[in-house]
Protein backbone atom coordinates (compact mmCIF):
# COMPACT_ATOMS: atom_id res chain seq x y z
CA UNK A 1 0.00 0.00 0.00
CA UNK A 2 1.28 3.42 -0.73
CA UNK A 3 0.81 6.32 1.53
CA UNK A 4 -0.54 9.57 0.23
CA UNK A 5 1.11 11.70 2.85
CA UNK A 6 3.64 10.42 5.25
CA UNK A 7 5.80 11.64 8.08
CA UNK A 8 8.93 9.60 8.41
CA UNK A 9 10.89 10.02 11.63
CA UNK A 10 10.01 13.69 11.44
CA UNK A 11 11.53 15.81 14.12
CA UNK A 12 11.06 19.51 14.69
CA UNK A 13 13.17 21.36 17.15
CA UNK A 14 13.91 25.00 17.78
CA UNK A 15 17.03 26.62 19.07
CA UNK A 16 16.47 28.06 22.47
CA UNK A 17 18.29 29.13 25.57
CA UNK A 18 20.75 31.97 25.99
CA UNK A 19 23.24 31.07 23.30
CA UNK A 20 20.88 28.96 21.25
CA UNK A 21 22.47 25.85 22.65
CA UNK A 22 19.34 24.25 24.03
CA UNK A 23 17.04 22.57 21.62
CA UNK A 24 13.33 22.80 22.29
CA UNK A 25 11.66 19.70 20.97
CA UNK A 26 8.37 20.39 19.32
CA UNK A 27 7.97 16.96 17.76
CA UNK A 28 10.21 13.98 18.19
CA UNK A 29 10.78 11.22 15.63
CA UNK A 30 7.22 10.94 14.56
CA UNK A 31 6.15 8.50 11.88
CA UNK A 32 2.66 8.41 10.51
CA UNK A 33 1.08 7.61 7.19
CA UNK A 34 -2.25 8.34 5.61
CA UNK A 35 -3.40 5.64 3.25
CA UNK A 36 -5.95 6.80 0.70
CA UNK A 37 -7.26 3.27 0.25
CA UNK A 38 -8.43 3.22 3.84
CA UNK A 39 -9.67 6.68 4.74
CA UNK A 40 -10.47 7.29 8.36
CA UNK A 41 -10.82 9.98 10.94
CA UNK A 42 -7.90 10.04 13.32
CA UNK A 43 -7.89 12.30 16.32
CA UNK A 44 -4.65 13.72 17.63
CA UNK A 45 -5.17 14.73 21.22
CA UNK A 46 -2.81 16.58 23.50
CA UNK A 47 -2.32 19.65 25.59
CA UNK A 48 -0.42 22.73 24.53
CA UNK A 49 3.20 21.81 23.98
CA UNK A 50 2.36 18.24 23.07
CA UNK A 51 3.40 18.70 19.45
CA UNK A 52 0.02 18.31 17.82
CA UNK A 53 0.04 21.70 16.12
CA UNK A 54 3.60 21.14 14.92
CA UNK A 55 2.45 17.84 13.47
CA UNK A 56 -0.32 19.60 11.58
CA UNK A 57 1.97 22.26 10.18
CA UNK A 58 4.52 19.69 9.06
CA UNK A 59 1.86 17.67 7.26
CA UNK A 60 0.61 20.78 5.53
CA UNK A 61 4.06 21.77 4.41
CA UNK A 62 3.89 25.07 6.26
CA UNK A 63 7.08 24.25 8.16
CA UNK A 64 9.96 21.93 7.42
CA UNK A 65 11.23 19.16 9.69
CA UNK A 66 14.63 19.57 11.32
CA UNK A 67 15.28 15.88 10.78
CA UNK A 68 13.40 13.20 8.95
CA UNK A 69 11.06 13.87 6.06
CA UNK A 70 7.54 14.67 5.02
CA UNK A 71 6.59 12.76 1.89
CA UNK A 72 3.84 13.22 -0.63
CA UNK A 73 3.27 10.22 -2.86
CA UNK A 74 6.70 9.06 -1.89
CA UNK A 75 8.48 12.31 -2.72
CA UNK A 76 9.98 14.67 -0.19
CA UNK A 77 7.91 17.87 -0.05
CA UNK A 78 11.00 19.99 -0.31
CA UNK A 79 11.83 18.48 -3.66
CA UNK A 80 8.48 18.71 -5.36
CA UNK A 81 8.17 20.46 -8.69
CA UNK A 82 5.71 23.32 -9.08
CA UNK A 83 3.14 20.99 -10.57
CA UNK A 84 3.73 18.44 -7.86
CA UNK A 85 3.34 21.12 -5.27
CA UNK A 86 0.01 22.18 -6.71
CA UNK A 87 -1.17 18.60 -6.69
CA UNK A 88 -0.12 18.33 -3.07
CA UNK A 89 -2.01 21.45 -2.19
CA UNK A 90 -5.09 20.12 -3.89
CA UNK A 91 -4.94 16.83 -2.05
CA UNK A 92 -4.09 18.08 1.42
CA UNK A 93 -6.11 20.92 2.88
CA UNK A 94 -6.77 22.41 6.27
CA UNK A 95 -9.35 23.94 8.54
CA UNK A 96 -7.83 26.16 11.18
CA UNK A 97 -8.84 27.06 14.67
CA UNK A 98 -9.44 30.78 14.49
CA UNK A 99 -12.42 31.75 12.35
CA UNK A 100 -11.42 35.39 12.59
CA UNK A 101 -7.82 35.30 11.48
CA UNK A 102 -8.27 33.21 8.37
CA UNK A 103 -10.22 35.92 6.62
CA UNK A 104 -8.47 38.83 4.99
CA UNK A 105 -10.49 41.79 6.29
CA UNK A 106 -9.97 43.64 3.04
CA UNK A 107 -12.04 41.22 1.02
CA UNK A 108 -15.56 39.90 1.20
CA UNK A 109 -15.90 36.30 2.35
CA UNK A 110 -16.43 35.28 -1.27
CA UNK A 111 -12.68 35.66 -1.65
CA UNK A 112 -11.87 32.52 0.37
CA UNK A 113 -14.17 30.54 -1.89
CA UNK A 114 -13.40 32.06 -5.26
CA UNK A 115 -9.64 31.93 -4.80
CA UNK A 116 -9.36 28.14 -4.64
CA UNK A 117 -11.81 27.80 -7.54
CA UNK A 118 -9.51 30.01 -9.54
CA UNK A 119 -6.17 28.60 -8.36
CA UNK A 120 -7.12 24.98 -8.76
CA UNK A 121 -9.21 25.53 -11.86
CA UNK A 122 -12.25 23.87 -10.42
CA UNK A 123 -14.62 25.48 -12.87
CA UNK A 124 -14.49 26.39 -16.50
CA UNK A 125 -16.62 29.51 -16.25
CA UNK A 126 -17.55 32.04 -13.67
CA UNK A 127 -21.12 30.83 -13.58
CA UNK A 128 -20.04 27.28 -12.95
CA UNK A 129 -17.71 28.44 -10.23
CA UNK A 130 -20.55 30.31 -8.61
CA UNK A 131 -22.73 27.24 -8.78
CA UNK A 132 -20.07 25.08 -7.12
CA UNK A 133 -19.65 27.61 -4.35
CA UNK A 134 -23.36 27.81 -3.66
CA UNK A 135 -23.62 24.03 -3.60
CA UNK A 136 -20.78 23.78 -1.11
CA UNK A 137 -22.34 26.42 1.14
CA UNK A 138 -25.66 24.61 1.13
CA UNK A 139 -23.95 21.34 1.95
CA UNK A 140 -22.73 22.79 5.24
CA UNK A 141 -26.09 24.23 6.13
CA UNK A 142 -25.59 27.83 5.05
CA UNK A 143 -27.73 29.89 2.73
CA UNK A 144 -25.66 31.44 -0.07
CA UNK A 145 -27.77 34.59 -0.19
CA UNK A 146 -27.00 35.27 3.46
CA UNK A 147 -23.30 34.69 3.11
CA UNK A 148 -21.99 35.82 -0.26
CA UNK A 149 -21.24 39.48 -0.59
CA UNK A 150 -20.71 39.97 3.13
CA UNK A 151 -17.57 41.06 4.89
CA UNK A 152 -16.08 38.77 7.56
CA UNK A 153 -16.95 41.06 10.42
CA UNK A 154 -20.60 40.88 9.46
CA UNK A 155 -20.81 37.14 10.08
CA UNK A 156 -20.61 35.10 13.28
CA UNK A 157 -17.70 32.84 14.22
CA UNK A 158 -19.79 29.76 13.58
CA UNK A 159 -20.78 30.93 10.11
CA UNK A 160 -17.21 31.73 9.25
CA UNK A 161 -16.00 28.35 10.35
CA UNK A 162 -18.68 26.63 8.31
CA UNK A 163 -17.57 28.60 5.28
CA UNK A 164 -14.12 27.13 5.85
CA UNK A 165 -15.59 23.65 5.82
CA UNK A 166 -17.40 24.56 2.59
CA UNK A 167 -14.09 25.66 1.16
CA UNK A 168 -12.55 22.31 2.00
CA UNK A 169 -15.55 20.62 0.42
CA UNK A 170 -15.07 22.60 -2.79
CA UNK A 171 -11.58 21.30 -3.21
CA UNK A 172 -12.43 17.65 -2.63
CA UNK A 173 -9.04 16.98 -1.05
CA UNK A 174 -7.98 13.50 -0.01
CA UNK A 175 -6.89 14.66 3.42
CA UNK A 176 -8.16 17.43 5.66
CA UNK A 177 -6.08 18.50 8.62
CA UNK A 178 -8.52 20.10 11.04
CA UNK A 179 -6.64 21.95 13.76
CA UNK A 180 -9.03 22.67 16.64
CA UNK A 181 -11.85 23.51 14.23
CA UNK A 182 -14.51 24.02 16.88
CA UNK A 183 -12.69 25.28 19.95
CA UNK A 184 -13.49 28.90 19.19
CA UNK A 185 -17.08 28.20 18.22
CA UNK A 186 -20.10 28.21 20.52
CA UNK A 187 -21.08 24.90 22.02
CA UNK A 188 -24.44 24.73 20.29
CA UNK A 189 -22.78 25.04 16.90
CA UNK A 190 -19.98 22.58 17.46
CA UNK A 191 -22.11 19.55 16.86
CA UNK A 192 -23.28 20.94 13.51
CA UNK A 193 -19.75 21.61 12.29
CA UNK A 194 -18.44 18.27 13.50
CA UNK A 195 -21.40 16.61 11.83
CA UNK A 196 -20.39 18.26 8.54
CA UNK A 197 -16.87 16.96 8.95
CA UNK A 198 -18.08 13.46 9.61
CA UNK A 199 -20.32 13.70 6.56
CA UNK A 200 -17.37 14.84 4.42
CA UNK A 201 -15.60 11.69 5.44
CA UNK A 202 -18.49 9.32 5.00
CA UNK A 203 -19.80 10.67 1.72
CA UNK A 204 -16.59 11.65 0.00
CA UNK A 205 -14.05 9.29 1.54
CA UNK A 206 -11.84 12.10 2.80
CA UNK A 207 -9.36 11.22 5.53
CA UNK A 208 -9.49 13.63 8.39
CA UNK A 209 -6.86 14.36 10.95
CA UNK A 210 -8.75 15.96 13.82
CA UNK A 211 -6.42 17.79 16.14
CA UNK A 212 -7.76 18.92 19.48
CA UNK A 213 -7.32 19.13 23.20
CA UNK A 214 -10.98 18.20 23.71
CA UNK A 215 -11.21 14.46 24.18
CA UNK A 216 -14.99 14.44 24.17
CA UNK A 217 -15.32 15.77 20.64
CA UNK A 218 -12.41 13.59 19.57
CA UNK A 219 -14.23 10.56 20.86
CA UNK A 220 -17.41 11.52 19.04
CA UNK A 221 -15.83 12.29 15.71
CA UNK A 222 -12.90 9.95 15.29
CA UNK A 223 -12.35 6.24 14.75
CA UNK A 224 -8.77 6.15 15.95
CA UNK A 225 -6.80 8.33 18.28
CA UNK A 226 -3.25 9.37 18.99
CA UNK A 227 -2.50 10.77 22.42
CA UNK A 228 0.50 13.06 22.52
CA UNK A 229 2.54 14.30 25.43
CA UNK A 230 5.50 16.61 25.10
CA UNK A 231 6.41 15.89 21.50
CA UNK A 232 5.86 12.13 21.49
CA UNK A 233 3.05 9.65 21.13
CA UNK A 234 2.14 8.00 24.41
CA UNK A 235 -0.87 6.01 23.35
CA UNK A 236 -2.63 5.16 20.11
CA UNK A 237 -5.37 3.00 18.75
CA UNK A 238 -9.07 2.53 18.43
CA UNK A 239 -10.87 5.41 20.04
CA UNK A 240 -13.34 3.27 21.99
CA UNK A 241 -10.58 1.23 23.56
CA UNK A 242 -8.33 4.12 24.43
CA UNK A 243 -11.04 6.33 25.90
CA UNK A 244 -12.88 3.64 27.84
CA UNK A 245 -9.81 1.79 29.09
CA UNK A 246 -6.72 3.98 28.86
CA UNK A 247 -3.46 2.21 29.49
CA UNK A 248 -0.91 4.97 29.66
CA UNK A 249 -0.81 6.82 33.02
CA UNK A 250 -0.98 10.18 31.22
CA UNK A 251 -4.06 9.18 29.27
CA UNK A 252 -5.62 7.97 32.49
CA UNK A 253 -4.88 11.30 34.14
CA UNK A 254 -6.22 13.20 31.16
CA UNK A 255 -9.47 11.30 30.98
CA UNK A 256 -9.96 11.42 34.70
CA UNK A 257 -9.57 15.19 34.71
CA UNK A 258 -12.28 15.85 32.17
CA UNK A 259 -15.39 17.24 33.83
CA UNK A 260 -18.39 15.25 32.66
CA UNK A 261 -21.89 16.56 32.14
CA UNK A 262 -23.38 14.09 34.52
CA UNK A 263 -25.01 13.99 37.90
CA UNK A 264 -22.15 11.82 39.05
CA UNK A 265 -19.27 13.86 40.45
CA UNK A 266 -16.20 12.00 39.26
CA UNK A 267 -13.56 14.63 39.75
CA UNK A 268 -11.90 12.67 42.46
CA UNK A 269 -8.91 11.23 40.69
CA UNK A 270 -5.79 12.14 42.56
CA UNK A 271 -2.67 13.17 40.80
CA UNK A 272 0.09 12.01 43.00
CA UNK A 273 3.39 13.74 42.57
CA UNK A 274 5.89 11.33 41.15
CA UNK A 275 9.02 10.89 43.16
CA UNK A 276 11.32 10.49 40.22
CA UNK A 277 12.82 13.56 38.60
CA UNK A 278 13.07 12.94 34.89
CA UNK A 279 15.95 14.25 32.89
CA UNK A 280 16.06 11.49 30.34
CA UNK A 281 13.85 8.56 29.69
CA UNK A 282 10.07 8.73 29.77
CA UNK A 283 8.88 12.34 29.70
CA UNK A 284 5.98 11.67 32.00
CA UNK A 285 8.10 10.06 34.70
CA UNK A 286 8.19 13.14 36.94
CA UNK A 287 4.40 13.22 37.18
CA UNK A 288 3.70 9.53 36.99
CA UNK A 289 2.37 7.80 40.09
CA UNK A 290 3.74 4.50 38.78
CA UNK A 291 7.24 5.65 37.86
CA UNK A 292 10.04 3.15 38.28
CA UNK A 293 13.82 3.66 38.11
CA UNK A 294 13.88 2.14 34.64
CA UNK A 295 11.56 4.88 33.40
CA UNK A 296 14.31 7.43 33.83
CA UNK A 297 16.99 5.40 32.15
CA UNK A 298 15.48 5.13 28.69
CA UNK A 299 12.24 6.16 26.99
CA UNK A 300 9.78 3.32 26.60
CA UNK A 301 8.88 2.12 23.10
CA UNK A 302 5.33 1.69 21.96
CA UNK A 303 4.05 -1.69 23.04
CA UNK A 304 1.28 -3.24 21.09
CA UNK A 305 -1.13 -4.35 23.73
CA UNK A 306 -3.96 -5.44 21.46
CA UNK A 307 -4.73 -5.68 17.80
CA UNK A 308 -5.88 -2.12 17.70
CA UNK A 309 -3.96 -0.30 20.32
CA UNK A 310 -0.53 0.54 21.62
CA UNK A 311 0.94 2.52 24.50
CA UNK A 312 4.43 3.65 25.40
CA UNK A 313 4.85 2.58 28.99
CA UNK A 314 7.13 0.07 30.67
CA UNK A 315 4.17 -1.19 32.66
CA UNK A 316 3.08 -2.90 29.49
CA UNK A 317 6.36 -4.48 28.59
CA UNK A 318 4.92 -7.96 28.50
CA UNK A 319 3.35 -6.98 25.22
CA UNK A 320 5.31 -7.08 21.97
CA UNK A 321 7.00 -3.93 20.82
CA UNK A 322 5.12 -2.42 17.91
CA UNK A 323 7.11 -3.31 14.82
CA UNK A 324 7.85 -0.70 12.21
CA UNK A 325 5.31 -1.85 9.70
CA UNK A 326 1.82 -0.87 8.94
CA UNK A 327 -0.52 -2.73 11.18
CA UNK A 328 -3.45 -1.24 9.37
CA UNK A 329 -5.80 -1.68 12.24
CA UNK A 330 -4.18 0.95 14.38
CA UNK A 331 -4.00 3.29 11.36
CA UNK A 332 -0.73 4.42 12.69
CA UNK A 333 2.81 3.54 11.82
CA UNK A 334 5.18 4.07 14.69
CA UNK A 335 8.91 3.70 14.75
CA UNK A 336 11.06 3.91 17.80
CA UNK A 337 14.52 5.49 17.88
CA UNK A 338 16.66 2.38 18.18
CA UNK A 339 14.95 0.45 15.45
CA UNK A 340 15.88 0.59 11.80
CA UNK A 341 13.24 2.03 9.56
CA UNK A 342 11.67 -0.50 7.33
CA UNK A 343 9.41 0.75 4.62
CA UNK A 344 6.40 -1.53 4.37
Amino acid sequence: MSALVELREATKSFAGGVLGRERLMALERFSFAIDPARPGITAVVGESGSGKTTLARLLLGLIEPTEGAVLYKGNDLRQLSAAGRREFRHDVQAIFQDPYEVYNPFYRVDHVLTTPVRKFRLASSRAEGRRLIEEALRAVGLRPEEILGRYPHQLSGGQRQRIMVARALLLRPRVIVADEPVSMVDASLRATILGSLRKLHEELGISILYITHDLATAYQVADTILVMYRASVVEAGDVELVVKAPQHPYTQLLIGSIPRVSTVRNWAIEERQGRVAAVSGCKFADRCPAAMPRCVAAPPPLYRTALRRAAACFLLDDSPVLPPGDTGSVLVREERPARASVVA
Binding site: D98, V102, P105, F106
Partner: protein, 279 residues
Protein backbone atom coordinates in the same frame (compact mmCIF):
# COMPACT_ATOMS: atom_id res chain seq x y z
CA UNK B 1 -17.78 61.37 2.86
CA UNK B 2 -18.27 64.91 4.11
CA UNK B 3 -19.66 63.45 7.29
CA UNK B 4 -16.49 61.50 7.78
CA UNK B 5 -14.39 64.59 7.18
CA UNK B 6 -16.26 66.33 9.91
CA UNK B 7 -15.33 63.54 12.31
CA UNK B 8 -11.79 63.08 11.15
CA UNK B 9 -10.81 66.69 11.65
CA UNK B 10 -7.17 66.25 10.70
CA UNK B 11 -8.04 64.82 7.35
CA UNK B 12 -10.51 67.58 6.72
CA UNK B 13 -8.08 70.36 7.60
CA UNK B 14 -5.33 68.73 5.55
CA UNK B 15 -7.46 68.36 2.48
CA UNK B 16 -8.75 71.89 2.97
CA UNK B 17 -5.33 73.49 3.13
CA UNK B 18 -3.97 71.57 0.19
CA UNK B 19 -7.15 72.33 -1.67
CA UNK B 20 -6.55 76.04 -1.20
CA UNK B 21 -3.09 75.62 -2.67
CA UNK B 22 -4.40 73.69 -5.64
CA UNK B 23 -7.00 76.34 -6.36
CA UNK B 24 -4.32 78.99 -6.06
CA UNK B 25 -2.10 77.18 -8.55
CA UNK B 26 -4.84 76.41 -11.03
CA UNK B 27 -6.46 79.84 -10.96
CA UNK B 28 -3.05 81.44 -11.03
CA UNK B 29 -1.98 79.44 -14.06
CA UNK B 30 -4.86 80.91 -16.02
CA UNK B 31 -4.81 84.45 -14.74
CA UNK B 32 -1.22 85.25 -14.03
CA UNK B 33 1.49 85.73 -16.60
CA UNK B 34 4.14 83.27 -15.45
CA UNK B 35 6.82 84.67 -17.69
CA UNK B 36 6.97 87.42 -15.12
CA UNK B 37 8.56 84.87 -12.82
CA UNK B 38 11.80 85.27 -14.75
CA UNK B 39 14.30 87.98 -13.83
CA UNK B 40 14.17 91.41 -15.43
CA UNK B 41 10.47 91.19 -16.19
CA UNK B 42 9.17 93.92 -13.96
CA UNK B 43 10.47 96.86 -11.95
CA UNK B 44 12.54 95.66 -9.01
CA UNK B 45 11.84 95.86 -5.28
CA UNK B 46 8.28 97.06 -5.47
CA UNK B 47 6.28 96.49 -2.28
CA UNK B 48 2.87 94.82 -2.67
CA UNK B 49 0.39 96.89 -4.68
CA UNK B 50 -2.52 96.40 -7.00
CA UNK B 51 -0.21 95.77 -9.95
CA UNK B 52 2.01 93.44 -8.03
CA UNK B 53 -0.02 91.84 -5.20
CA UNK B 54 3.00 90.05 -3.75
CA UNK B 55 5.53 92.71 -4.69
CA UNK B 56 8.66 92.20 -6.75
CA UNK B 57 12.18 91.11 -5.95
CA UNK B 58 15.56 92.57 -6.61
CA UNK B 59 16.05 90.80 -9.92
CA UNK B 60 12.79 92.05 -11.24
CA UNK B 61 10.61 89.06 -10.76
CA UNK B 62 6.92 89.43 -10.06
CA UNK B 63 6.57 87.47 -6.84
CA UNK B 64 2.98 86.48 -7.50
CA UNK B 65 4.10 84.91 -10.74
CA UNK B 66 6.95 83.26 -8.90
CA UNK B 67 4.56 81.72 -6.41
CA UNK B 68 2.23 80.54 -9.13
CA UNK B 69 5.07 79.06 -11.15
CA UNK B 70 7.24 77.90 -8.29
CA UNK B 71 4.79 76.17 -6.00
CA UNK B 72 4.04 73.41 -8.48
CA UNK B 73 7.76 72.91 -9.03
CA UNK B 74 8.44 72.47 -5.33
CA UNK B 75 5.52 70.10 -4.98
CA UNK B 76 6.66 68.23 -8.06
CA UNK B 77 10.07 67.58 -6.56
CA UNK B 78 8.44 66.38 -3.39
CA UNK B 79 6.02 64.06 -5.16
CA UNK B 80 8.61 62.51 -7.45
CA UNK B 81 11.06 61.94 -4.65
CA UNK B 82 8.36 60.74 -2.30
CA UNK B 83 6.82 58.34 -4.79
CA UNK B 84 10.12 56.88 -5.90
CA UNK B 85 11.26 56.63 -2.32
CA UNK B 86 8.15 54.87 -1.05
CA UNK B 87 7.89 52.75 -4.19
CA UNK B 88 11.40 51.39 -3.76
CA UNK B 89 10.89 51.08 -0.02
CA UNK B 90 7.69 49.11 -0.46
CA UNK B 91 9.27 46.61 -2.81
CA UNK B 92 12.25 46.12 -0.52
CA UNK B 93 10.15 46.02 2.63
CA UNK B 94 7.65 43.45 1.40
CA UNK B 95 10.42 41.28 0.03
CA UNK B 96 12.45 41.45 3.20
CA UNK B 97 9.52 40.85 5.52
CA UNK B 98 7.84 38.08 3.56
CA UNK B 99 10.88 36.02 2.65
CA UNK B 100 12.87 36.63 5.79
CA UNK B 101 16.22 34.95 6.25
CA UNK B 102 19.24 36.20 4.33
CA UNK B 103 17.25 38.51 2.11
CA UNK B 104 15.80 40.23 5.12
CA UNK B 105 19.16 40.55 6.84
CA UNK B 106 20.79 42.09 3.77
CA UNK B 107 18.07 44.62 3.09
CA UNK B 108 17.71 45.53 6.70
CA UNK B 109 21.42 46.05 7.19
CA UNK B 110 21.76 48.28 4.16
CA UNK B 111 18.85 50.39 5.34
CA UNK B 112 20.23 50.58 8.86
CA UNK B 113 23.67 51.64 7.68
CA UNK B 114 22.12 54.18 5.36
CA UNK B 115 20.08 55.64 8.17
CA UNK B 116 23.10 56.31 10.32
CA UNK B 117 24.75 58.46 7.68
CA UNK B 118 23.63 62.10 7.97
CA UNK B 119 21.34 62.58 5.02
CA UNK B 120 21.83 66.26 4.45
CA UNK B 121 25.57 65.77 4.29
CA UNK B 122 25.24 63.17 1.60
CA UNK B 123 22.88 65.35 -0.37
CA UNK B 124 25.20 68.31 -0.13
CA UNK B 125 28.17 66.28 -1.29
CA UNK B 126 26.24 64.93 -4.25
CA UNK B 127 24.86 68.31 -5.18
CA UNK B 128 28.21 69.99 -4.95
CA UNK B 129 29.99 67.37 -7.03
CA UNK B 130 27.62 67.63 -9.94
CA UNK B 131 29.01 69.80 -12.64
CA UNK B 132 26.73 72.29 -14.26
CA UNK B 133 23.38 73.39 -12.99
CA UNK B 134 20.71 71.02 -11.77
CA UNK B 135 17.30 70.55 -13.24
CA UNK B 136 14.24 70.10 -11.12
CA UNK B 137 14.02 66.41 -12.05
CA UNK B 138 17.62 65.75 -11.14
CA UNK B 139 16.92 67.33 -7.78
CA UNK B 140 14.06 64.94 -7.24
CA UNK B 141 16.18 61.89 -8.07
CA UNK B 142 18.94 62.94 -5.71
CA UNK B 143 16.53 63.26 -2.83
CA UNK B 144 14.86 59.98 -3.76
CA UNK B 145 18.22 58.26 -3.24
CA UNK B 146 17.81 58.77 0.47
CA UNK B 147 14.05 58.85 0.77
CA UNK B 148 13.63 55.10 0.67
CA UNK B 149 15.65 54.29 3.78
CA UNK B 150 13.26 55.06 6.59
CA UNK B 151 10.04 53.88 4.91
CA UNK B 152 11.69 50.54 4.21
CA UNK B 153 12.09 49.92 7.91
CA UNK B 154 8.64 51.08 8.92
CA UNK B 155 6.78 49.28 6.15
CA UNK B 156 8.75 46.13 6.90
CA UNK B 157 7.60 46.20 10.52
CA UNK B 158 4.01 46.50 9.41
CA UNK B 159 4.32 43.60 7.00
CA UNK B 160 5.91 41.46 9.70
CA UNK B 161 2.83 41.85 11.83
CA UNK B 162 0.68 40.60 8.98
CA UNK B 163 2.85 37.76 7.84
CA UNK B 164 1.69 35.26 10.42
CA UNK B 165 -1.96 35.92 9.98
CA UNK B 166 -4.25 33.01 9.26
CA UNK B 167 -5.25 34.32 5.86
CA UNK B 168 -1.65 34.27 4.70
CA UNK B 169 -1.43 30.60 5.64
CA UNK B 170 -4.67 29.88 3.82
CA UNK B 171 -3.22 31.66 0.81
CA UNK B 172 -0.22 29.37 0.93
CA UNK B 173 -2.53 26.41 1.11
CA UNK B 174 -4.23 27.73 -1.99
CA UNK B 175 -0.95 27.35 -3.78
CA UNK B 176 -0.28 31.05 -4.10
CA UNK B 177 3.28 32.07 -4.77
CA UNK B 178 5.17 34.60 -2.68
CA UNK B 179 4.68 37.65 -4.94
CA UNK B 180 1.04 36.72 -5.39
CA UNK B 181 0.50 36.61 -1.65
CA UNK B 182 2.25 39.93 -1.26
CA UNK B 183 0.13 41.66 -3.87
CA UNK B 184 -3.22 40.05 -3.25
CA UNK B 185 -3.25 39.59 0.48
CA UNK B 186 -0.76 41.88 2.11
CA UNK B 187 -0.69 45.09 0.09
CA UNK B 188 -4.44 45.72 0.22
CA UNK B 189 -4.37 45.61 3.98
CA UNK B 190 -1.56 48.06 4.11
CA UNK B 191 -2.95 50.61 1.66
CA UNK B 192 -3.93 53.15 4.32
CA UNK B 193 -0.56 52.77 5.95
CA UNK B 194 1.24 53.12 2.64
CA UNK B 195 -0.77 56.23 1.84
CA UNK B 196 0.17 57.81 5.16
CA UNK B 197 3.82 56.89 4.61
CA UNK B 198 3.70 58.37 1.13
CA UNK B 199 2.37 61.68 2.33
CA UNK B 200 4.94 62.00 5.08
CA UNK B 201 7.63 60.99 2.65
CA UNK B 202 6.57 63.74 0.25
CA UNK B 203 6.67 66.15 3.12
CA UNK B 204 10.18 65.13 4.06
CA UNK B 205 11.32 65.37 0.46
CA UNK B 206 10.01 68.90 0.13
CA UNK B 207 11.79 69.84 3.29
CA UNK B 208 15.02 68.34 2.04
CA UNK B 209 14.73 70.10 -1.30
CA UNK B 210 14.00 73.46 0.27
CA UNK B 211 16.93 72.94 2.59
CA UNK B 212 19.31 72.20 -0.27
CA UNK B 213 18.03 75.10 -2.30
CA UNK B 214 18.39 77.60 0.50
CA UNK B 215 22.00 76.56 0.66
CA UNK B 216 22.28 77.36 -3.00
CA UNK B 217 22.62 73.81 -4.16
CA UNK B 218 19.40 73.59 -6.07
CA UNK B 219 18.34 74.25 -9.66
CA UNK B 220 19.39 77.87 -9.94
CA UNK B 221 17.17 78.86 -12.81
CA UNK B 222 13.97 77.44 -11.39
CA UNK B 223 11.75 79.98 -9.63
CA UNK B 224 10.63 77.54 -7.00
CA UNK B 225 10.07 78.23 -3.33
CA UNK B 226 13.39 77.09 -2.00
CA UNK B 227 15.37 79.04 -4.59
CA UNK B 228 13.34 82.13 -3.83
CA UNK B 229 14.37 81.84 -0.20
CA UNK B 230 17.95 81.43 -1.36
CA UNK B 231 17.76 84.70 -3.20
CA UNK B 232 16.16 86.22 -0.11
CA UNK B 233 19.14 85.44 2.04
CA UNK B 234 21.65 86.06 -0.77
CA UNK B 235 20.35 89.59 -1.05
CA UNK B 236 19.96 90.06 2.70
CA UNK B 237 16.31 90.87 2.14
CA UNK B 238 15.42 90.62 5.81
CA UNK B 239 17.99 93.19 6.88
CA UNK B 240 17.08 95.41 4.03
CA UNK B 241 13.48 95.47 5.02
CA UNK B 242 12.04 93.90 1.86
CA UNK B 243 9.61 91.97 3.93
CA UNK B 244 7.27 91.00 1.09
CA UNK B 245 10.03 89.01 -0.56
CA UNK B 246 10.22 86.39 2.16
CA UNK B 247 6.68 86.40 3.54
CA UNK B 248 5.19 85.09 0.32
CA UNK B 249 7.30 81.95 -0.08
CA UNK B 250 7.34 81.35 3.64
CA UNK B 251 3.57 81.57 3.80
CA UNK B 252 3.17 79.11 0.96
CA UNK B 253 5.67 76.70 2.51
CA UNK B 254 3.85 76.84 5.83
CA UNK B 255 0.56 76.04 4.15
CA UNK B 256 2.19 73.14 2.28
CA UNK B 257 3.66 71.61 5.41
CA UNK B 258 0.61 72.14 7.55
CA UNK B 259 -1.56 70.64 4.86
CA UNK B 260 0.65 67.58 4.49
CA UNK B 261 0.96 67.21 8.24
CA UNK B 262 -2.77 67.19 8.82
CA UNK B 263 -3.26 64.87 5.89
CA UNK B 264 -0.78 62.42 7.37
CA UNK B 265 -2.48 62.60 10.75
CA UNK B 266 -5.83 62.03 9.11
CA UNK B 267 -4.56 59.05 7.14
CA UNK B 268 -2.91 57.66 10.27
CA UNK B 269 -6.27 57.65 11.90
CA UNK B 270 -7.70 55.61 9.06
CA UNK B 271 -4.73 53.27 9.03
CA UNK B 272 -4.58 52.60 12.73
CA UNK B 273 -7.94 51.60 14.13
CA UNK B 274 -6.78 52.25 17.63
CA UNK B 275 -6.47 55.94 16.92
CA UNK B 276 -9.98 56.16 15.65
CA UNK B 277 -12.25 58.17 17.81
CA UNK B 278 -15.32 57.20 15.89
CA UNK B 279 -16.51 54.08 14.13
Amino acid sequence: MLGYLRRNISLGVGIGLLGILVIFMVVGAFTVDTSAAQPLSVPALQPPSWDYPFGTDRQGRDLLAVMVAGTPLTLWIGFIAGFIGVGVAAVLAFTAAYYGGVVDTVIRSIADIGLTIPGLLVLIIIAVSLKGSLTVNQMAIIIALLAWLSPTRTIRSQVLTLRQRGYVEIARLNGMSGPEIIFRELVPNLLPYLAATLVSSVSAAILASVGLEVLGLGPVEAPDLGMTLYWVQFNAAIINGWWWWWTAPLGVIIIVFLGLFFLTAGLDEIANPRLRRTV
